[in-house]
């Protein structure tokens, strides 16, 4: 049974180019032909299965258009239809389908290739949850594949935070969401050698009252960036709880999309715990991403 699998190139709307070029005839010459449309023609299908249907219709402005539709008919090997389904194939069209406009194109094959998008590569889920589950054990063993030092580029030996060459390396590039205060204080500390503009209130590198207030609010607050989108507050709590008592966990969520924005804050009750967490988890691979953990407000030292 041949089933028409349609592969349609876009229809070619061109004025008829046969001998009788009525599409280009002047009005008065073609008057007697004006309300005549040549009957539709079907050519093929030829040996390649290419079928050509030529139809004619009037455009809105009264000009005639020849529409050539080229269709390829394929035989689908697996199409097995019941007898009654075969019979239904030849049913006459009814309702609106009878006088379907030639160019209406109700049925189209998508030009876009749509794939069944897997949420993760097959078989990878179990590993992920294991890593996230016992954070410290994984840290101790140092999940061989993920442990890449970003400072010296050495694989599998140590985490970025423990790199022996840490002090020699240039400070890592700031993230986009880094508060502006960090930049200005850095500029202020660098002194007047740089030609960047420093507002008068920020000059001299001294303690500023504004920063002082902010720091008090974010006491023992740790900022975690480069979180994966799936990370939620309970996940962070689980990860950080091992270092000490946590008073607040917050993951920034886009209000409109409900998706995580990739960073969050964790407040510890004790400053030592926070420090411990920073030391341990900065550069830690979590959910395929390398975490960046630091004090929420950049410290003066």
């Amino acid at each position: 049974m041949a089933v028409e699998g349609i592969q349609r190139p876009p229809p070619s709307n061109q004025p008829q180019s046969s001998k009788l070029r009525w599409g280009e005839l002047e009005e008065d010459d073609g008057e007697d032909l004006d309300f005549l449309l040549p009957p539709p023609m079907v050519i093929g299908p030829d040996e390649n299965g290419v079928k050509r249907v030529i139809e004619y219709k009037f455009k809105e402005d009264g000009s005639k258009v020849k529409i050539t539709t080229t269709t390829r008919i394929r035989k689908l090997a697996k199409a097995r239809l019941s007898k009654r389904a075969l019979e239904r194939r030849s049913w006459a069209k009814f309702g609106d389908a009878v006088r379907e406009d030639v160019g209406s194109r109700l049925t189209m094959v998508s030009t876009e290739e749509i794939l069944l998008e897997r949420p993760r590569p097959p078989g990878s889920k179990a590993e992920e949850t294991k890593v996230a589950g016992d954070a410290l054990a994984a840290l101790g063993k140092g999940g061989a594949v993920l442990m890449v030092c970003r400072t010296c580029g050495k694989k599998g030996d140590h985490w970025t935070s423990k790199c022996p060459f840490k002090d020699l390396a240039p400070p890592p590039e700031g993230f986009v969401d880094r508060p502006a205060a960090a930049e200005t204080s850095a500029a202020g500390a660098a002194g007047a050698g740089k030609s960047t503009y420093v507002p008068p209130g920020m000059r001299g590198g001294g303690e500023r009252p504004g920063q002082e207030m902010r720091r008090r609010n974010d006491e023992n607050s740790v900022r975690v960036t480069n979180l994966s989108e799936d990370t939620r507050e309970p996940d962070l709590l689980e990860l950080f709880r091992t270092f000490g008592q946590v008073s607040r966990v917050y993951v920034a969520v886009d209000q409109k999309t409900g998706m995580s924005r990739g960073f969050g804050f964790v407040n510890f009750v004790n400053k030592e715990d926070a420090e411990k967490a920073i030391n341990k988890l900065n550069g830690y691979g979590y959910d395929n991403l390398i975490l960046r953990v630091e004090w929420a407000t950049p410290r003066a030292n």
């Binding site: 239904r88 009814f94 609106d96 389908a97 109700l106 876009e112 069944l116 889920k125 409109k256 999309t257």
Partner: protein
Amino acid sequence: MRPILMKGHERPLTFLKYNRDGDLLFSCAKDHTPTVWFADNGERLGTYKGHNGAVWCCDVSRDSARLITGSADQTAKLWNVQTGTQLFTFNFDSPARSVDFSVGDKLAVITTDPFMELPSAIHVKCIARDPSEQTGESVLTIKGPQGRINRAVWGPLNQTLISAGEDAVVRIWDAETGKLLKESDKETSHSKAISSLSKSADGSHFLTGSLDKSAKLWDIRTLTLIKTYVTERPVNAVAISPLLDHVVIGGGQDASSVTTTDRRAGKFEAKFFHKILQEEIGGVKGHFGPINALAFNPDGRSFSSGGEDGYVRLHHFDPDYFNIKM
């Protein structure tokens, strides 16, 4: 895969149904004309003209000769599938929401919405073999559930009726006496309105989708909860694969807020879940509005989805779909 796009409706789709042989696909939309398409290449075969309101649901008889449609114009109509002629009209005092033929096509269940202080109701009608002898009398009318009954289907051997709706409770009724036999527990059941209900191919279990962003699989006889599939979107449509252990869930954010957010945020994909492992297999994108209707071809090799965007998208699976390993 390259889906086939069918743009026959001018308003959002509401329901999709394949006939038993899987060669015809019936689509209902909020415009007033249900349409039938060839399910392999998406060619339009015909339309059923006569309704005067949104068409909410349809069902086709096993021999693909009769179609029943339920509409917001307070009628349910019987049609000749081949010619598109109206055979009979059941008149109600409120919009008809859901229709379903029984096994053997001798009975049909029609649910009607609460309207003008009338409560929602489930009506059972006899379907005569000869349409000229058809009458509009109800064999049975069940009233009781609060709010709209979004779907009612026949249970095994036509002994029971299963209904689900806005009150988020799944109920099993005796199809002969109209007695309430079972009700889903408050703890296990959905927490928000149930929008869709779909039976498995063998009729042993069924899947409900709800606005509480989950879909649940139930045993059709005991009404025990078997599985829960959690998504991050309100569920408007569900379907169970007749071939593989897959279920497909469609939905998206509320249609009224679609224009306010990014297309990706609406989550308009059809999500495939493994029926037993409850794990997500993947998503099929394409609609630019929430998915309102889903149907699997009875051969399990293609499925179609209908969206708020007015498109029906007919997907024939790629060969590698059948080899997916979890």
